[in-house]
Structure formats: C-alpha cells, structure tokens
Symmetry: C2
Subunit: 165 residues, 2 copies
Amino acid sequence: MSTKELTPSATVSVFTPEQLLTHWQGHRRLTRRMIEAFPEDKLFTYSIGGMRPFAVLVYEFLGMGVPSLKGTATGQWQKWAEAEQVNTKAELLALWDDATTQINELWPTVPAHRWQEEDVAFGQWPGTGISLMCYVIDNEIHHRGQAYVYLRSLGIEPPAFWDRQ
Amino acid sequence: MSTKELTPSATVSVFTPEQLLTHWQGHRRLTRRMIEAFPEDKLFTYSIGGMRPFAVLVYEFLGMGVPSLKGTATGQWQKWAEAEQVNTKAELLALWDDATTQINELWPTVPAHRWQEEDVAFGQWPGTGISLMCYVIDNEIHHRGQAYVYLRSLGIEPPAFWDRQ
C-alpha cells in the first residue's frame, strides 16, 4: 500500500470504508428479505403502472453491485450489463448470496485513495468512487421502495424498513 | 472549535461532511421535483395498498430532517413530531424550501466529532450522528421510490432518478 493510500483525508471523516460496507450489507439484507417476501410468480411478473417487476430490478442491483466495486478497486471496467436472468426465487437468492460474498471479499481490496479519485465508471459515468458507490446503494433503496408498494397492493406486509440485521 | 473537533479520523474518509450535505441536498432537489410533479389533489389523497399519500410522507421527511440535524449539532433533542400540515402544494413547497435554507445554515455548525459520536436521537434511537443522518436520507429515498409508483400508476412520468441538479 502506498503512502498516499494511508494518508487520512485532510477533512474529518463522516464515514469510514468499513462503516460504508456495513451500511450497504445492512441494506442488502433488507433487499434479500424483500425477495423472500414476494410470492414466487409475482416476483417475476407483478407490475404497477408499467414498471419493471421486482426480479428485474434485482437483476439491475446485481449488475451494478459487484461490477462497480471491481471497477472501483482496480480501475478496470467491464462492459456494463445486467446480471444473468433466472427462473426461480431460489436461484435469485443464490445470485444474491454469491454477490454478498464477493462484495465482502472485494471491499478491503479498494485502495483508500480510490474513494475520492475521479474515474469514468464503465467508460460512461464520470465521478469519484464514493459517488458511484452511493449511487449503487441509493438506486437499490429507491427501487426497493417501489417494491414495497407492489407487496402492499398484493395485501402482503413488507419487512420493516428500519431492520437491517 | 476544540482540538478534538479538528483531528481527522484515524481511518481514511470516504465522505467529507461537505460532500454528504451536497449529496443530501441533491436528493432533496429531486424530492422537490416529485412534489411538483403530483397533481394538487393527488398529492394529499392518492394511495395504493393503504399506504400514506405522498404529502404525508413529505411531512415525515420534514419532521426528521431539520430536527435531526439540530440534535446532531447541539446534542439537544426536541420531542419527536411530524411537520406542520398544510393544504396546498405551494404551501408544502414553501415548507420544503424553508427546510433547505435551515439545513444549509445548520450543517456547518455540527462539531466534527459529532458524526462518529454515539447519542440517543430524540431520546429514543441510539446511534452515531452519521448513522442518524444516513437514516434520514435513506428514508427519504425509500418513500420517494414509493411515490414514483403512485405517479406511474396515474400515468405521469416522474423526474429522472439520476438527476440531482
């Protein structure tokens, strides 16, 4: 690790890298519970107002998560693509759990200076590492909020938003 | 400002306080555009699955935002309460804009050490300043995502999620 990577920011930290990982994985646990809460068929088909079914939104989360983290860690960007598509809730949960493991393994490999370094994610979207990671997390919260309406309109009580354990 | 407040975190910052404020106000601009996008009556009445109308969710955002920031800045917590209720979109936007100004004024008064200091928000919710502020922002993203479904089901194109200008 270079000296640059060990130098604390000149300004005070509000979030350490470890805290951000914990925060994201907490949100990811809630998203996993949302996948579990959907009836098998509704997960892949149910829509309101022409919006995408929840499984399709989850493909987007998967397509963004690990690839964004790999690019932030290495500066090498693969071509942007959504995750592989599956046919059952069990397969979707398996993709989710695999991503969980990969995120935990990749996170400590991000050089500290990369969080504030400008790059062009996937050759398309300019920004710092932290701005990209916030976009990934915010996008998951945003579309998962949409899925709360899907569940409520199906008469199903969604998992509590505040519970991230 | 005490020496403690000027000491950078021992770990590397992924987010400076100024960046977090910019991030939040970007989300708040998007929430403002969502308020504007609703038809006047639907803003206060429209619901899917028994969920709260968007104006009621906005009251929650307003009730959490400035009061959470005041408590983080001062360590003094007022009693938890939602924002005052209004009858028109124009009045709701005025409350929103007033909060925007207050947030910009209060933010620089938060002593740096408070972001990582444990406290009990509103005498009820334990956590650090940063964990509280993340909850406030995430809650806004979550419920605003719900309102995207309301608008789509009304046949109205919502503002772009990625645009925070």
